[in-house]
Structure formats: C-alpha cells, structure tokens
C-alpha cells in the first residue's frame, strides 16, 4: 500500500479500495492499467501534470476561489454605464430560481418523455419570443447574437442561392468579426455606410451596392451606436426589389415599445436574449435567437433544434418533439444545415421565465421606463460643456453615443478618472469607429435611478473641468 494518505474523493465513489477490487475481479483484470491495453507505450504520458496542489476539502476550495474572485469589482459595487453586446438589466429572482433547479441545470439530451419539461419550457420560450417578434418560428437558442446573425446570413444565402451579403456599418464590431470568420470563404461581405448626422443607414449607398447577386441586407435596430432605424420598411423594400432578404438584428427588450422587425419587412430576425433575465457574467450570459415566418423554405434552412407541439396517444395530452430533425447535422453530418451542438438552452428557459413574468404590460412599461431614463441621461450629458450627443436628432432606446471630442480629454482618460469615483464610463468606440473619433457608447437601463445619472453628470463635470491637476 502507498504510504501517503489516500483520500476517497467525494466525487468518485468507486475509489473505495474494496469496491475497486470487486469490480476489477468481476472484469477479470488485476489492475486498472490493464484496461488501457489499447494505448501504446509511445502515446503514454510519462510525466506528471504540473498542477497546483488541490483543495479536496470543500471549505478550503471555497476559500481559495473566493479569494481570487474578491479581486473583481462588480457593477453592483460600482455604477456602470457599459453596454454594447452585454447589458445590465434587473434579473428577477425567479429567473435564477428556475435556472438553478437541479432538473434543468443537469439535464441534457433526453427524449421528449422523461425530458418533457425541457421540451415544453423551450417551446414556451419560442412561443413568447414569437409574440414579441410577431413571427411564428423561433429556434432553440444558439451561442450568441454573433452566431445568430451569422446563421441568418448563411440561411439567406441558401434560400436565395446567392453569395453576396450587405451589412450596415453600424453593426457591433465584434459581431462583424464573427460573421466575417463564419462566412469566409463562402460568402462575400460588403458594408453599407451610415449617415454621419443621423446614425441611420445611408439608403443611397445601399441602392448603389445592392444587386441581383445580393442574398440579403443585414442591419441592426437599435444599432450598436444606439440609433433607432425608422427606414426599416424602405430598406426591406429595396432588398425585396432585388430578390434579396431583409435581415434584422434587434434587442428583444426594446420590443414592448418598438415595433418588431417583421412589421417592417424583415424576413429573418436575430439578436441576443441576455437582457431577458440573464446576468452579464462577464459576457458569459449571451444567447442568440433566430426567428422567421412559418414557411417551409425558411424552416428547412435552420441548423438549430426547433421544438414543436404535438399530440400523444392519450386524448388531450400535449407532447413535444423535434421539428424536421432530418435537416440538422445530428441527422446528416454532411448535408445537414451548418452544424448543431450544445449551445445555450438554459438561457432560453430563463428568458422564457422573464417574458412570462414581465407579460405584455411589463414589457411595455419597461420599454417606456428605459426610454425615459436614457432620454434624461442624454439631455443631462449634453448640457455638460464640450460634451455632445452626435445623433441627437435620431431616437434612441437604451444606448447612445457620447462625443468627447470638444472636451480636450480622451474617452480613455475620462473613464480612468470616472473609475476612481466608482463609475464605469461608457464603452470606448474611438478605435472601432474612427470616423467618430473620441466617442463612447453609454447604456442606461431601468436599473439606473435619477440619482445615478446625476452622479455620472457631476463626476464628468468634475473630471473634465475641476481635476486638471490629477
């Protein structure tokens, strides 16, 4: 016997020597190593993995991890105005209660019988998203908005049998990077300019670039720079005139108050559901949705799982199952549409809980609340000397660009000072949008009080004009 103290780890029940011996005897081998007979010597790892000494006791482990996490400063401990692909909204307690349930947390890929609840919750999620989006088909969520947009684009290319895509320049830079990689080298991507005074899509530029080779035009509403695009119908009509599809990325939490893209001609709609009851988690809470009309030519191009409602052999009983499973790569590894794998189902369930909690009235009230708060913030910020809201003539939802060009300070420096005051200033976009130069995107939601916004304004005033010596 090994002289070192041999622990029986709580996660490994059959480590108990007597059990192990019994099982080895049953198998008919003397040593576990015999079970690895197929791994030749030259493939064996002879060294020791250089890992830190572990904390087998749960208490020590907890102390260790919490000590590392204590180095983080959160958006609860500070006042944050960060947005741009991840947003701080209130997460109702029941959202966490449900996604922490052992049953949902640890289920995976069971059948529509023993996992009936998984199918039903995701069907209900899709159903509620469908109402918000005014569309009849919504997928089981994918990784994030970037993937959802990428797949929407690839779907458009397959549906139209064309290989060129136009994308509005006001897209999130990260998303554009994801799309570019996902489409390379199969599709060609062209960018459509935006009007630098309104922040909206430059329709003339679109007209000059669209052709009978264009599979679709993709734009976001509200856009990454926060503007509400009210030319949706015009853009969709132009796309349709050329036989292309209208593809729109949107923030679902805006749709209690804004009309959904399907109402201005969008054929495929996508976006992120993180705002709907999912914590930011340093960007770990993202999940993408895709929605279309209920037409075979659209449905058959989804790579995603689509859960449908059906009947059972018992009268009146609802059952659920996969709709057109054969189109997925699980069924056909070559001909399947793109690919399917584990993505973000638990966040889909959570977003469903959120939409059920909010209901029609809640989504409307929330939308209005965010509009009022962000408008107040824009107004107050624009009153600071040298600070401008460049696209103030357009309407915004929760995000807007703040222009520091005339303040003599860079966004980076401003944010540094704000940080010392416990404020996370808006996202610096001076590198990603060089044409706007020294600008940041600020995000204001229902979590911000009047006092929070006033505190930001005061802090900005101080850092721009009172603390030159710092």
């Amino acid at each position: 016997m090994d002289k070192r103290k041999k622990i029986i780890h709580p996660y490994i029940p059959n480590s108990v020597p007597e059990i192990k011996a019994k099982m080895l005897e049953e198998i008919g081998v003397k040593d576990i190593d015999e079970l690895y007979e197929d791994i030749p010597d030259n493939l064996r790892f002879k060294g020791e993995m250089n890992l830190p000494d572990p904390f087998p006791s749960e208490y020590e482990l907890k102390r260790h991890v919490e000590q590392i996490l204590s180095k983080n400063q959160t958006c609860h401990e500070n006042l944050s105005f960060l947005g741009g692909d991840c947003w701080q909204h209130y997460v109702p307690a029941i959202c966490d209660e449900i996604n922490q349930r052992s049953e949902f947390l640890t289920a995976y890929a069971g059948e529509p019988y023993e996992d009936h609840g998984r199918f039903q919750t995701l069907f209900e999620y899709a159903s509620m998203m469908g109402e918000l989006l005014d569309m009849d088909v919504v997928n089981v969520p994918t990784y994030d908005w970037g993937q959802a947009a990428s797949t929407s684009i690839r779907m458009a290319a397959r549906i139209t049998n064309r290989s060129e895509i136009l994308i509005s320049e006001t897209i999130s830079p990260d998303r554009l990077s994801i799309i570019k990689n996902y489409c390379k080298p199969v599709l060609e991507i062209g960018l459509v300019k935006f009007n630098t005074s309104t922040g909206k899509l430059d329709v003339n530029d679109l007209k000059s670039k669209i052709s009978s080779k264009t599979a679709g035009i993709y734009f976001e509403n509200p856009s990454f720079i926060g503007c509400i695009e009210n030319q949706g119908k015009i853009i969709s009509d132009i796309a349709h005139d050329y036989g292309a599809l209208s593809l729109v990325g949107t923030d679902p939490i805006s749709l209690g108050i804004l009309i959904p893209p399907s109402n201005y001609g969008a054929d495929i709609v996508c976006g992120d559901i993180q705002a709907l009851g999912i914590h930011m988690q340093f960007g770990g809470g993202l999940a993408g949705f895709i929605a279309t009309r209920d037409e075979e030519r659209f449905v058959m191009e989804y790579p995603s799982r689509l859960f449908g409602i059906t009947s059972t052999v018992v009268e009146g009983e609802h059952g659920f199952g996969d709709v057109t499973y054969d189109r997925t790569s699980f069924h056909d590894r070559i001909e399947g549409k793109e690919f399917i794998g584990t993505a973000t189902a638990l966040w889909g369930i959570t977003a469903g809980v959120y939409l059920a909690l909010a209901g029609p009235q809640g989504m409307r009230e929330l939308g209005q609340l965010i509009l009022q708060k962000s408008q107040y913030a824009m107004k107050k910020l624009s009153e600071i000397k040298g600070v401008k809201i460049p696209f103030h003539q357009s309407a915004h939802f929760k995000e807007f660009v703040v222009d520091f060009n005339d303040t003599g300070k860079s966004v980076k420096d401003v944010n540094k000072v704000l940080l010392t005051k416990g404020i996370f200033g808006g996202k610096d976009i001076s590198v990603d949008f060089p044409e706007l130069r020294n600008c940041a995107v600020y995000c204001v939601t229902e979590i911000h009080t009047k006092d929070d916004i006033d505190r930001l304004v005061q802090a900005l005033n101080e850092c721009l004009y009172e603390e030159v010596s710092s």
Partner: protein, 516 residues
Amino acid sequence: MTKKTEVRNFHQAKWDEPVIYELSSKGERGILFPEIEKEIEEIVGDGISILPENMIRKQPPRLPELSQMQILKHYLRLSQQTLGADLNVDIGQGTCTMKYSPKINERLATSPKITELHPSQDESTVQGVLEIIYKLDLFLREISGLDKFTFQPGGGSQAILAMASIIQAYHESNDESEKRDEMISTMFSHPSDAAAPTVKGYKVINIYPNEDGLPDVEALKEAVSDRTAGLLITNPEDTGIFNPKIKEFTRIVHEAGGICGYDQANANGILGITRAKEADFDLCFFNLHKTFSSPHGCGGPATGALGVTKELVKFLPVPLVEFNKEKYYFNYDVPLSIGKVRSFYGVIPAILKAYSWIMSLGSEGLKEVSQIAVLNNNYLLKKVLEIRGASAPYAKGRHRIEQVRYSWDELFKDTGVTTEDITCRMVDFGFHMWSSHHPFIVPQPFTLEPTESYSKAELDEYIAGLKKVVEEAYEDPDLVKNAPHRSVVHKIETDSLDDPTKWAITWRAYLKKSKK
C-alpha cells in the same frame, strides 16, 4: 428497493401541466418595474412621443399574463418533468459525460463577483476572473501538452468551427488555402467534425471504420493529397475504442501538408494518461461541460476550450488572456487571428466551474477520475454483455476506454423490439438510454458512459433496468413497444413534426394550424 438490486417502482412526476398560454388570466402581473421618477418625467415627458411614429408598437406583444407564484409553480412543475443528472443514474447518455457537477461550484459561479461583471470593464477591475481564465489555460496546457488555450468557443461544435478556421488561416498564410480544400474526418467522430468544416467551404472526406471498429489507415492514405487541409478526429471515438494508430494518422496527414485537430470533447478516460501532444496534434479541444464537470443545462451554456501548439497561437481568436508577472491583461495583438468566433471571452461560469473542479482534484485526482471512469465502463461492459440480446460490436474481448457503443440487433431480430422502444421503456424506470449519432453504422445502437460519478450500486441498478426491459421484450414485446407508461406523457405522434401544414414551433402557429 430491497437490498438485492432491483428496478424501482418508479413514476415520473406528471402534473398534466398546460402550456403557459392556457394558464393566462388577463390583468395578472408577474413582476413590477420601478416607477419613473417625477423629476425625470417632467423633463422628458412620456419618453414615447419622441419616437418616430412608425416605430411605436401599437399592439402589445401577446405574452401570457400570470401572477408570480403561478409562474413559479408552472416552471417548477416543468422542472419536475425533466430528468436531470442530479436525479437519475445518468449513464445512459453515452458520449455526453453526465458526471456530477459539484454544487459548491454553482455557488461560486453564481456569486455577484462573477455574475455582475460587464465584459468591457477596465482590466484593473476584473483581475480575479482574468486570473481564473489564465490559470485554467495553464492547467489545460498540462493536460493536453499544447501551448495556449482560448475559451471563446461556446461549445464543442463552435470549437470545431474555430479549429477549421485556424487550419484555413494557416494554409492561407502559406498561400495554399484555395488548393487545400478538403478536410478529413471519421464516421465515428462527432457529426460536427464533418459539419463545421463544411460551413468553412471544405469538402469533407469521412473515413469509415474497419472490422475492428477503428478508422481505416489504408482509407486515410487514399484520402490524403495536396488538397488535404487537415484532419478533425475524435479519439476514443463513440465506440470507446482507443485508436492505437492515432500517431500514424497525424503523421500521414502532416506528410501531406495538413494540420491535425484532436476532438477531445470527451477526454474523461484519458486525463493524465495520454495527450494531444504525444499523438502529434496541432490543435485540440475539451468540452468543459463534459470532462470538466460544468453542468449541461438542458443543452448549454457550454465551452469548447481550444488549445494549439505555439506555431498556431498567432491564428487564435482575440483577445488572449496573458499575465506579465504583475497583472492579467487582454492581448489583441495576434497578427493572423481568425477574428472572433463568439463575443467577448467565453462562457465564464463554465470556465470557473472547470477551474474549481480541477482545483478540487489536482493531478492525482484527475488521473483517478479517468481510471475510475474506465473501471466503471469496463464493469458495465461486462454486465451488459451478460444480457440476452445485447452485444458490443468490434474489438471482441478487448477493453474499452470511457464508453461503449452497444447493439440491440440480436434482441431486435428475436423480438422486433427496437432501440427506440427500449429507450422509451427505460424511461418508465427513471433512466435515459441514448442510441447513437447518425448514421446508425451499428444496427440498433445504444451508447452508455458511466463516468466516475456513479457508485457500483447505481451501475447495478441501471443494469437491472436493462435486464428487466429485455425480459419484457422477450415475454411481452407490446409492453415495451407501447412505452412509456409511467413517464410524463405517452407515445407522441411524430408525423406532424415533419409536415409543414401541421408542425407548430410556437403556440401562435399551433393556434393557427389547429383551427384549420
């Protein structure tokens, strides 16, 4: 249960729970949001009239209306109608590695110190989470032998896409990406090993197994050419048979100028035993939601942790997380980066849980995990082969690594009872039993993977379940064919799910179509 292992007199929770829309009652509220401050309202007004008229929603979304407790109850009932790994002997979902996801890691990952971080915060405010990311990278370097990891891919399939993208970028850097337009995979590798490179424009050649169940080396030799971009291969494959010639595979592909990606989504049987490095792979990935214990969440959130050799670091998605002996920071200076595959830095809770899990076990513990997973699997193999009608095709008499693809073909020929029937009947005893990825190369397949988490008594209970159902199949096949009988619902009608005039993916579509 009596002392002797028998199946349970089980019945799953059956609440007969309506669809949430059927519970809606006009005017009820699930949650209230704050009222707008009067001072704000006085300044900006209603906030709505400023919007372009054509953008204002006139009809509120037709969401259900329920009070809070009623919503809670609805979802709790649906949770009870879902069979999570925390409740069953979850060894029937082979390839999925349904191990224990420790609760302490859930508590840590749901701390506000993680959940309330915005990804664009200043680096100085997120040193803790960056440390976790960086150190998990170091750990996985040890486990794989490769040189740098990214956690950006949000699942195994996205990691495969990233591998295919990096392989493409590598050839592009040598001006060979147009010529090298073929990717090689094997039939028993995960479907995404073929499907994801197809997205990147590759023609995929799938190597079939030989009579030993292993991908055929001769077929590989025929497949490679100056058009070969690379190899994407799982090992052990779904059969649980370790491919002893894996190094020959990488050699043949390398000699043809290709790059080799190792699908180690499920590495549960080989931690500390054999690594990507010794097999000469250029890339590999681990699923943190499989081997490294992050829970499966009904199908994500998840992480495909992707590692590469130092030659390929320059192609990785940005940003990389680095450490300069003082602080952790993001490195965007990756000259030939493929860009991004997912927003930000990955599924942080999964990364934290994997970190914590490794820190609970250490080097010896990880090895123990694998050894016990393999012990459990071979014990199960022995027991399954004693069951009438069951077999384990290929590699007769040999041991397996972490899972086995079995067959009910003999049982089917004897009784007409299929894998699907048995799956549905196992449900009546509180078990999952999964078949196989498509195509079903093994007839009437089923795949079991016991991991390290289940006790011998639990394995025996599962075996008793299989035995019981097989007994029924021989004695009363209709009982099995009409299952489930004691689950949440009864046999579903599946034809409508493939019929465009009948399928209903949302409640509103259902209402429209059922009226017709």
